[in-house]
Each structure stands twice: as C-alpha cells, then as structure tokens.
C-alpha cells in the first residue's frame, strides 16, 4: 500500500526515519482532498443534470409559484454536522501535523553536529573532526545528524526531498535541522529559496555511509576550508598541517590568532573577559539583570554583537567579529569552548574526574608561550584523536 501510493503520487524514496510517517499523513490528507473535491463536483453535475430546465422552452422561464418555504434547502442539523465534521477533520490534520513538526524540529540529544554554510550557489560543510567538504555532505547512516546552518549572503533553503526535510538558511543567524538516514545511499540536496541566477544550480548531495567506513572517509578529507584570507585579520596559517586537526584544536588555534586569549583565559583565572573554563552550557547573569544559557547560539551571537547580551560584571570592550570570522572558524571556536566546558572554573581546586569519553588533554596556551609570540602548531606528542569517536 505504501509503495503503491508513493509511486502513484511520485513521492521520492523514504530515506529518513521521519519520511515514512510524514508520507502516511500525506496519503490520508490527499485522499480526503480528492474525495472531497470529486464529491462536490459530482454532486454539482448531478444537480445540474437532474434539475436542468425543460429542453427547448423560451429563454424566459415561467415564474415558479411554489410558496417560499417549500423551496428545498437542507435542515440546520445536516449543515452543522457537515461543517462540524469538516472542522474536526482539519483539526485532526493540524494535531497530527504539528506533533510531527515538533518532532522534526527537536534534534535528539546524542546527534552529531555538522556545520553547513550556504553561499551564493554552493553548499559547504564542516565536520566536527576538522574535515570539510563542498557540495557533498557525508553522514553516518543510522545515526541522527544535526545540521547547524548559516548563510554568507542571502537566504537559501536546505532541501532534501528524500528526507522530506527543508529549512531556510538565514544570514546572520544559525538555523538547525536534523535527520537520520535509514541506510547508506545518495540523496539530492536542492536550494529551495530564490537566491539569484545560480539558484537552480546550487545543488549538492548527501552521501550516507555505513558507520564503519564513515570514519575512514572523514579522515581523508582536506581540512575545513577557511576559505580565503579573513579580511582585515591576516591569520598566518601553515600551508596545510600534516594531518587534519580536530575542530576543537582548530578552534584553539583560530582563537589564539584572533587574539581572544588577550582577554579570555581557559583555566578559570579572572581576566578582562569572562573565562572560557566551564562556560559552555552554564547559565550566566547578564548586564540587564536577566540570565541566559551560554549555548552555541549565545556564543555565536555574542561574537557577532558582544554588547547585545553582555555578561554582568564585565566592560563592553569586545569588538564585533561580524565578517571577520567565517562560519567554520566560529564553529571551531564554539567547539573549543564546548570542550573547555569540563575544565573547572576555580583554579587550584582538584580537576574534575576525567570525562567518560576521554576528551582531548589540551595544552593551556598561556603556559608555554611568552605573551605576543605567535604560537607554534600543536605539539606532535599529544595528537588529538577525534572526540567521541570509538575506533
């Protein structure tokens, strides 16, 4: 039944876990729509034929002298039941539809995050393992994946018909979308929001790989493209580091070069700006008396517009990095702060028990470097293994 209806309505294959339940609602809604429309048309045709005027009489039909009330029409009860039924039908559509919508929009907690950047007429992706790709999104089949998306110029819309999923990609904001591919396969990505002459060529592909060789493919990727020199902030990068750094380590490097450590410490010691130790997901008091959870969105926003939600007790001296840092760099710094979340905020106390999945023992940049001297690449010895990956 499902296959027949899917082929009849020309729906693409149901490649994500949500696609099948969405399609069931689709069949229910479309069938009732067809029945309703055909029914009304048939009834109209029947009445037209049944009550047509006698053939051939003059153009001016004789007056119908029957008294007013005997003129047909239906009882009030019949009318109320029809509209009550219709209203109930529409409300059921809404109840099922909206509950599915909420499930579509709430990513499961353990989903892997991938950063997506829409740019005029191409899609680029940055993976938590530091790799990056343009035009192809590698995802592990059978595991939920959360996409944090932003745009560099105009509104695009990330649309994967096979997953029945679409979300606008708005510049200046991060919107999110999650899915879980059922089994390995390749699926088309379209841009669904008018974004210029190349709108119809802004296509990409989701490649769902089995878990085993997903790691291998990811490792082989070139480092996330820090596309082009960042305007105004000449970041002296080595041509290409011997092997891809993890996103957190890259975040540490970008933060160092962007000069974040002039005001922010990573081991809890108080300084000009709030320390990054234990900052991730902590509720912090703001200047205007309210509180906010320092999650990805807050950290990204405060990099773009620091004065908007100022941490109480600190001066509004931080410059805005809007346009200075690209989205992968921002993602990298946020990931680095995420990893620092486990470092204890109060120096001297016993460090927290090592977290379960063995996060990377990061070198504190303030230790080995004299102020102002550019930091060398990460030490070879403690090569960071990708966080959260089970070899």
């Amino acid at each position: 039944m499902n296959e027949f209806m899917r082929r009849l309505l020309m729906l693409p294959p149901q490649a994500s876990t949500m696609a099948r339940s969405i399609d069931y609602l689709h069949y229910f809604v479309i069938i009732t729509t067809m029945i309703g429309a055909a029914g009304v048309a048939a009834l109209t045709l029947y009445f037209i034929v049944r009550y047509r005027e006698g053939a051939g009489r003059g153009t001016n039909p004789p007056p119908d002298l029957r008294p007013h009330h005997a003129r047909g029409g239906v009882s009030l009860w019949f009318e109320l039941s029809v509209f009550g039924g219709l209203l109930a039908l529409f409300v059921t559509w809404w109840v099922i539809g909206f509950s599915q919508f909420v499930r579509i929009w709430e990513p499961p907690p353990d989903s892997m995050t991938i950063y997506v950047v829409g740019k005029q007429w191409m899609w680029s992706f940055a993976y938590p393992h530091g790799g990056g790709s343009v035009g192809v999104l590698y995802v592990p089949a059978g595991r939920p994946v959360k996409l944090l998306m932003t745009s560099r110029d105009v509104i695009h819309s990330f649309y994967v018909p096979d997953f029945r999923l679409k979300a606008d990609v708005v510049p200046g904001r991060t919107t999110q979308l999650w899915f879980e591919a059922n089994q390995p396969g390749r699926h088309r990505i379209f841009c669904a929001e008018m974004c210029g002459p190349g709108h119809s060529e802004m296509r990409a592909e989701v490649v769902a790989l089995p878990d085993a060789d997903y790691e291998r493919t990811i490792q082989g990727l070139a480092p996330a493209q820090i596309s082009g020199p960042v305007q105004g902030l000449a970041i002296p990068f080595e041509a290409d580091p011997p092997e891809p750094l993890s996103l957190a380590a890259m975040g540490q490097r970008v933060a160092a070069e962007a000069g974040c450590f002039r005001c922010h410490t990573v081991d809890g010691t108080p300084h000009i700006g709030p320390t990054w130790a234990g900052l991730y997901e902590a509720t912090i008091p703001l200047q205007d008396g309210t509180q906010v959870v320092a999650d990805d969105a807050y950290l990204t926003r405060s990099m773009m517009d620091p004065a908007a939600e100022l941490h109480r007790g600190f001066l509004a001296v931080m410059p805005s990095y809007q346009g200075l840092l690209t989205a992968p760099q921002i993602g990298a710094i946020v990931q680095y702060i995420h990893v620092l979340g486990d470092v204890s905020r109060y120096p001297g106390e016993a460090p927290l028990p090592a977290p379960v999945r063995g996060t990377v023992p990061l070198v504190n940049p303030l230790e080995g470097t004299a102020p102002g001297e550019p930091r060398a690449a990460g030490p070879r010895a403690a090569r960071p293994n990708p966080t959260g990956a089970t070899p």
Binding site: L286, D305, P319, S320, Q322
Partner: protein, 218 residues
C-alpha cells in the same frame, strides 16, 4: 432648510446622495477609513519596533539616552496643545465666530512649524554625533547592531511622522484659506472638520512615538 443669514449658502447635495445627512456621514466615514489606512501604514514600523526591541532589549534601552528628552517632551506638549487649538477652531466655526477660527488655525500651524523646527534641531544633533540611518551609522559611543537598528528605526518612524506633519500643515493651511474666503462656513464646515481629524491622527501617532523613543530607559 432655514438659512442662517451671514453663514453663507447652504451646501449643495450631490446627485448620488439622497440627503445632506448621508453626504456628511459619507465625508466623515470616508475620512476615517483614510485615517485607518494611514495608521496601518505605521503598523509595519510598530511591528518592526516590537521585534527589534525584543531582540536587542538592552541596546534599545541604552540608545534611548542619546535622544534629547527635552525636545521629545516639548514636542508632545506642542502637539497636544495644537490638537486643542484645531478642535477649538472647529468648535468656533460651528458657532460662526470666523475670527476665532482663523486665530486658532493660525496658532495650530505655528505650533506645527515649531514641532518641525525642534525636530530639525534634534536631527542636527544626531547628524553632528554621526548618528545616521542604515549603513551610514558611525556613532562611536554606541557601536553594535542594537543601537544601529534603533536609530535606523527612529529615523524611519519620526521621518514618516514628520512627512505626515507637513501634510497636516498643508491641509490646515488650505482649510484656513477656505475659511478666510468664506467658502467653508458654519453651514458647511466639512472641510475644516476633516482637516482637524487628520491633524488629530498625526498628534495621536506622536503620543505613541514619544514614549517609544524618548522615555523607556531601563
């Protein structure tokens, strides 16, 4: 209809109206529909103010400090008094006191001009500090998007209101000329009543703009 001697000729009833009452109701009703559409022209901007105030609450509260409170407050008093004088003009025209009507209208227009002068002074202060709308915003003491959006919205709303103020001045001026020439009289006060309605709308919009842009400091 009894003629009221020097009140001028009774008004002509147009062909499509059955009587004078319907014609006058049509005039007032049509004017109110026009005022409704003018108010909804501002609705878009009020919506934007709500949205950006929710998103940049602290920046908006802080940016209000830069607006000169004394100019805003004087302007609100000016407009309330001008609303009174224009209403008084309508009232005295109905009692057929042409001189008081003309004086009230003159004071109204003077107050309107005064409002625009103060508005000009305030814009001058902003321009001197580098507070410009949109991309041209270059105000050092309040960097950041919140303040930039606040002042862009400030220019859009007060600018649109100033345009409506100029329109109101033109309308009152035209009506004052008709009263002076005796074409708008006690028997046919419709044009002055409609001009007054438009003026009251412009005043009501400023009564809302004042707290939004001058008062709500945190």
């Amino acid at each position: 209809m009894t003629d009221h001697g020097h009140q001028g000729p009774a008004p002509r009833v147009a062909i499509q109206f059955q009587d004078l009452a319907k014609q006058e109701h049509a005039a007032h009703f049509g004017m109110w529909l026009f005022l409704g559409s003018e108010l909804l022209l501002f609705a878009g901007l009020f919506g934007l103010y709500t949205a950006y105030r929710t998103r940049y609450a602290t920046a908006f509260a802080e940016a209000v400090h830069h607006n000169a409170l004394w100019i805003g407050t004087t302007n609100v008093v000016i407009l309330i008094v001008s609303s009174f004088t224009v209403a008084w003009a309508v009232h005295s025209l109905r009692r057929d006191r042409r001189r008081t009507t003309l004086w009230s209208l003159a004071i109204t227009m003077l107050l309107g001009l005064l409002f625009l002068v103060f508005k000009g002074i305030e814009y001058g202060i902003h321009f001197r500090d580098g507070v410009f709308p949109g991309h041209y915003y270059a105000y050092q003491e309040m960097p950041g998007h919140g303040a930039q959006l606040f002042f862009t919205l400030y220019y859009f709303m007060t600018g649109l209101h100033a345009l409506h103020m100029i329109g109101g001045l033109a309308a009152i001026g035209w009506v004052a000329a008709r009263v002076a020439r005796g074409k708008t009289t006690a028997a046919y006060p419709i044009p002055l009543e409609l001009g007054a309605l438009y003026w009251h709308l412009v005043d009501s919009i400023w009564i809302f703009l004042w707290p939004m842009f001058y008062l709500t400091t945190g």
